[in-house]
């Protein structure tokens, strides 16, 4: 590709993952060229976007070379071979640091790869680097990262969502066609929604948690972020499947998500709108775009009905007992003994004192807040009233879903009540921040599948709105099928992807525009 130059490189970063994989497989472009184009893009725009905590240029080029070598040798290539990807910094990697956006893990190099990391490498996916996130995945904006916030490519003064905000920003800024996020309360879908891309939370246990640094074990779910529904499905298929190292991993075939993403047909499908989600608190443009999306589904032949899920109103409080409880235990291991930060170890202090000083220095305010909440909720004498009660609510929410899915095939809602808010706006108001996950939390508590797909821009601020499509556990393919239909219909209406309506980022080097 000697004659391509910067223009060609720019085109490569605009390709979908499916297009890149096809081009690499066909020999139209080398994986190294693709990787280099994306690394150049990162150099050009990431000083503004700040999606990455670590860029692994040499490792990425080596992985790309390996793909090219295999292709040259006639070895079989996976469906995403040679496609660059941005990995959330919560997944362990032997060749890159893993910080979880926390000072307490600053510089930690894990001695092992997460199962997801391993599967990506085995599939020939080219990992460009590790993306920013709210510390230990606690937050909805990346403002809780110890390394500073990432910025929304649609408007750099706004949040890219969170906690997988580095991943959503990287994909929306064309720094990578694919990214891995993790969803505990909405941490894939909400950032996807506010960045105008696709984000999928698979069924809990559908993707392995081995090597995912735990926030809340019973909720954490790795999943794909991409610019198209098909790309998300391709990544979903590559990263998922049973893992004997994760006891909670589902021992069942991966649902046929790629086939579903190619089967964009909702005729005859029963779609439910959750009554309890139609209350106040929405931004008007979010409501408008959501209503339009529902009408669109109807026009495509879906049957839309209203469904009541009476316990969804209790999802947020239940979540804020269960997730902090688990996190208070999961984060206990950051004790300065075996890895990560060690503060105050001057030879005069006891292990207890060093533990306290390290945790004081190493954890940010939101992490400390949740550890305290969880420690309290699990305390003897409070357990039944808090953690125990929250688990009962969780059961009721699961039953609400079960009852709803008796009546309908999928449930839809806006992904998040508002578009991307300005950085700093909610930083001092945790309750306002928590509300960003109002619609996403029920599926985390119940463990079912849910996707966010772009459904337009809010007229008042010109920022993306996401449509959430929830499907029963292990029916992930249904989310993809509906999302693909919405994507196809809206792109026809818009004359291209929503992201094409975002302003171009100023490139700092190479002058791509």
């Amino acid at each position: 590709m000697a004659a391509g130059g910067a223009g060609m490189a720019r085109e490569l970063t605009r390709l979908t993952a499916a297009e890149i994989a096809a081009a690499v497989a066909a020999g139209d472009v080398s994986a190294v060229e693709v990787a280099q184009a994306h690394l150049d893009r990162i150099v050009a725009v990431d000083p503004d976007v700040r999606a990455f905590l670590h860029v692994a240029g040499i490792g990425a080029l080596a992985a790309a070379e390996d793909v090219d070598r295999k292709r040259a040798a006639g070895e079989p290539l996976g469906p995403l071979a040679g496609v660059p990807l941005a990995l959330k910094d919560v997944m362990t990697t032997t060749d890159m640091p893993t910080t979880c956006g926390s000072k307490i893990l600053d510089g930690w190099r894990p001695p092992y790869d997460a199962t997801v990391t391993r599967r990506l490498r085995d599939a020939g996916v080219v990992i460009l680097g590790k993306t920013n996130m709210d510390e230990f995945a606690m937050g909805s904006s990346t403002e809780n990262s110890a390394y500073g916030p990432s910025h929304n490519p649609w408007d750099l003064t706004r949040i890219p969502g969170g906690s997988s905000g580095g991943s959503s920003a990287a994909v929306a800024a064309y720094e990578a066609p694919l990214a891995i996020g993790t969803d505990t309360g909405g941490s894939i879908r909400q950032p996807a929604a506010v960045c105008g891309i696709v984000g999928m939370k698979p069924t809990y246990g559908g993707s392995s948690r081995y090597g995912l640094v735990a926030f809340a074990s019973s909720l954490d779910t790795p999943g794909p972020l991409a610019r198209t529904v098909l790309d998300a499905a391709l990544l979903h298929e590559v990263m998922s499947g049973h893992d004997p190292r994760d006891s909670t991993s589902v021992d069942a075939p991966v649902p046929p998500v790629v086939a579903a993403a190619r089967h964009a047909d909702v005729s005859g499908l029963r779609v439910g709108v959750v009554t309890e989600f139609s209350g106040g608190g929405y931004q008007s443009g979010v409501r408008a775009r959501f209503t339009e999306a529902v009408e669109l589904l109807e026009s495509l032949g879906a049957k839309v009905v209203e469904v009541s899920c009476p316990h969804f109103s209790y999802a947020l409080p239940a979540y804020y007992l269960i997730a902090p409880s688990e996190c208070s235990s999961n984060l206990a291991r950051f004790d300065a003994m075996r890895f990560g930060l060690r503060a105050g170890d001057d030879g005069t202090r006891s292990a207890d004192e060093v533990m306290s000083l390290t945790r004081e220095a190493g954890f940010g305010a939101e992490v400390k807040r949740r550890i305290m909440l969880g420690t309290y909720a699990l305390s003897s004498g409070y357990y039944d009233a808090y953690y125990g009660k929250a688990q009962q609510v969780r059961t009721l929410i699961t039953r609400d879903f079960d009852a709803a899915f008796e009546q309908v095939d999928v449930l839809v809602s806006p992904t998040t009540p508002t578009t991307a808010f300005p950085i700093g706006e909610r930083a001092d108001d945790p309750m306002a921040m928590y509300l960003a996950d109002l619609f996403t939390i029920p599926s985390d508590l119940a463990g079912n599948a849910a996707i966010s797909v772009p459904c337009g821009l809010a007229p008042e601020d010109g920022l993306p709105v996401g449509l959430q499509i929830m499907a029963p556990a292990l029916a992930d393919d249904r989310s993809y099928r509906v999302a693909a239909a919405v994507e196809a219909a809206l792109q026809e209406r818009w004359g291209g992807p929503l992201l094409a309506q975002a302003g171009e980022l100023g490139e700092q080097a190479g002058g791509g525009r």
Partner: protein, 499 residues
């Protein structure tokens, strides 16, 4: 620390108070791999060489339960007549400690795998049924080594090292119900229970039950109440009592100490106590007020354990002959009284005697050596019989030599001494120490003649018909041969010559 002078003499304490005891026993299972990862469980490896991301609790790692450990726990539960849960969960026990890799221990809390069983033990011919509250499965912690300082404890240490090889080894905790009604036999009952449990576990093949290596560890609860009182007294929990003898001593000490506290009109403090091997005493540890809140909750990284009924029944069908049944059979085979069998059992000698019999000794011979000379030596060195550096085959060989007349009892004791001292097997020791009986008639005759010649007065008495005096001449012969003469034959020769 309790002033030892203030202890109430044991018998006096029991004249006023009724003890209730309870035991919590931790058993490291002998599975090939750890509870939640594939690391080996081998004892004594280079520190921190049998570790991986999972048992080091590295961020992102996840546990996967060891099926063999669950099977072993069910075996133990069945052998202890417990009900096996059809569904139960692991729980996290949260507390910070450097040798706890995750700063929580995966254990079981309100849903143990096995509940409500019993174990019959025999104390001086009296049978006691010890109720089993629960048997649950958990993971062991790492091991802290406190360097510098006088005590080896964390206080005063210069620094501490942690070996995580032990972290994650499957650990079963067997908890008894309170054991009342043992009266004065409480210390012996405690010891008999641990002995019986140890033998049972060994017989089940689930653990090497080596108390000295920590694969069997005991916490002993003791309380006292005045005779006839409606309620039991406040209990103390003496931690890490790590030999059978110590179990007995710990209960005995706590009874004497608590009696002194109660006699003084004070209340026994509910607390954990440390046992000191050297003095046999206990000192206060953590009190109930300082007790940690472990914030137990179901372990979300593991799925519930739901052993299929068929599987449990298969395990039940595969249980070996248990020690109690075996003892009954051996008692009949060996023709022993109940008390003799109990003695053998309490001495921890059933397996040893059985193996010695299998190696060719008669039951009487085997019992004689294990309960006599060898028990005495074990007692002297403060170890268990099974830890003596001698095998049942050695003892059988010595018995055979005595039977063949190659050794007498006195020589046999010297052979045992040599084996215990590491000088080799019995034949090697006999050879090296020249211990075989002098069977050469010529050499013996020489020694007899010499003895007669050296003791003319005694010889004269014998000639005068006082044959009892021949004993002194036999003694002289034995002395001259350093015990290696056949005393009977020497006597015959002396009487022949002096008749």
């Amino acid at each position: 620390m309790t002033d030892l002078a203030q202890l109430v003499p044991y018998d006096e304490a029991l004249s006023r108070y009724e003890p209730v005891i309870g035991l919590e026993t931790h058993v490291e299972l002998g599975t090939a791999t750890k509870m939640f990862c594939g690391c080996p469980t081998t004892f004594g490896l280079e520190p921190n060489s049998a570790v991986c991301p999972v048992c080091l609790g590295l961020p992102g790692s996840l546990p996967v339960a060891n099926r063999a450990a669950i099977e072993f726990t069910i075996r133990i539960g069945l052998a202890l007549n417990c009900s096996i849960a059809s569904w139960c969960r692991f729980a996290r026990k949260n507390y910070f400690y450097p040798d706890m890799p995750k700063d929580f221990q995966i254990s079981q809390y309100d849903e143990p795998l096995c509940t409500d069983g019993w174990l019959d033990v025999d104390v001086d011919g009296r049978a006691f049924r010890v109720g089993i509250e629960r048997v649950h499965l958990e993971e062991d912690t790492g091991k802290s080594l406190h360097m510098g300082g006088a005590t080896g404890r964390i206080h005063g240490a210069d620094y501490s090292l942690v070996d995580y090889n032990r972290a994650g080894i499957p650990l079963v905790e067997v908890v008894t119900k309170p054991v009342a009604g043992t009266g004065v036999l409480a210390p012996e009952a405690a010891r008999a229970y641990v002995t019986e449990l140890r033998d049972l576990l060994r017989c089940l093949g689930v653990s090497d039950v080596r108390m000295e290596e920590g694969s069997l560890r005991c916490d002993v609860n003791t309380s006292l109440a005045p005779h006839g009182a409606a309620d039991w007294g406040t209990r103390t929990e003496t931690k890490n009592v790590n030999s059978l003898r110590s179990v007995e001593r710990a209960v005995r000490f706590e009874i004497a100490r608590q009696a002194a506290v109660l006699d003084a009109g004070q209340k026994v403090v509910q607390e954990t106590r440390h046992f000191h091997e050297d003095s046999g005493s206990t000192t206060a540890g953590r009190s109930k007020e300082e007790a940690q809140d472990y914030r137990y909750f179901p372990e979300p990284d593991l799925v519930p354990v739901a052993p299929a009924r068929d599987w449990v029944e298969q395990i039940r069908a595969s249980l070996p002959e248990l020690p109690a049944a075996r003892r009954a059979r051996l008692q009949a085979d060996w023709g022993l009284s109940g008390a003799e069998m109990t003695h053998l059992s309490n001495a921890g000698a059933v397996d040893l005697v059985s193996a010695t019999v299998e190696a060719g000794a008669s039951p009487a011979e085997a019992r004689k050596w294990w309960l006599g000379e060898l028990a005495r030596r074990a007692n002297e060195s403060g170890t268990e019989l099974s830890q003596l550096a001698i095998t049942p085959a050695h003892v059988a060989r010595v018995s055979a030599m005595v039977r063949a007349g190659t050794l007498n009892d006195q020589l046999a004791r010297q052979v045992l001494e040599g084996v215990l001292a590491g000088e080799g097997d019995p034949d090697t020791v006999v050879e090296a120490r020249s211990l075989a009986i002098v069977s050469d008639e010529g050499a013996l005759a020489e020694a007899v003649d010499a003895a007669i010649a050296a003791n003319p007065d005694v010889a004269a008495k014998v000639r005068d018909g006082k044959t009892a005096a021949a004993g002194a001449l036999v003694g002289a012969v034995m002395k001259a041969t350093r015990g290696r003469a056949d005393a009977e034959r020497a006597r015959e020769l002396i009487l022949e010559r002096l008749s």
